[in-house]
Symmetry: C2
Subunit: 130 residues, 2 copies
Amino acid sequence: MNAIDLEAVYRKYIDCLNERDWENLGQFVHEEVQHNGRPLGIGGYRSMLENDSEQIPDLWFKVELLVVQATWVACRLRFDVTPKGDFLGVAVNGRRVTFCENVFYGFDDGKIRDVRSVIDKSAIEAQLED
Amino acid sequence: MNAIDLEAVYRKYIDCLNERDWENLGQFVHEEVQHNGRPLGIGGYRSMLENDSEQIPDLWFKVELLVVQATWVACRLRFDVTPKGDFLGVAVNGRRVTFCENVFYGFDDGKIRDVRSVIDKSAIEAQLED
């Protein structure tokens, strides 16, 4: 699978998340997916995403940057959202925040298996200081 | 400049940081470099790095993952360090912490011009809770 194919698969995965199309998540995510070293499996990964969508009703994944090489996709995602309560331990409580997630996805058999993500907590805190 | 060349330039940039070789920073960093949207210029960028090295005497940049495409490098850097005082607003005070930075570098004329970085503050906080 070349870089263009992997980019296409990844963009369909993002569409799947934005459509809350959990039934089709397995088309893009490996059974044995890990997230920051935790072996969630696709069930745990789906639960994490469903919980995020519950806590952030207007959750929308926007691709800001995409870098693809061999079996890796690196993406800078931008969010402009209103989490209901706490998010990453920050009391957002329905205020609007914008922040990025820089995340690497290792693919295996054309599916996401190894996710290494960092979310910009400092940016969220800075916006709520005002 | 192809992906292999860009990777080589990037790895030399990391060596330059690890050697505190500030005099040669301009070989890798563009005069008009931006960091997370702030137009630091190379002078401000160097000051930021010198300050980081002062606050974290054992600062060492270790490349965990590297993804290169066209004019972009995406890197997951791992740190295993002992910041002297506060770091990202967290009172680390000489304790040892390990954490990642997921960062994108946009190159222009073979030099780093657009840095978009996220550091894993949540991971640092979690280690200091014990």
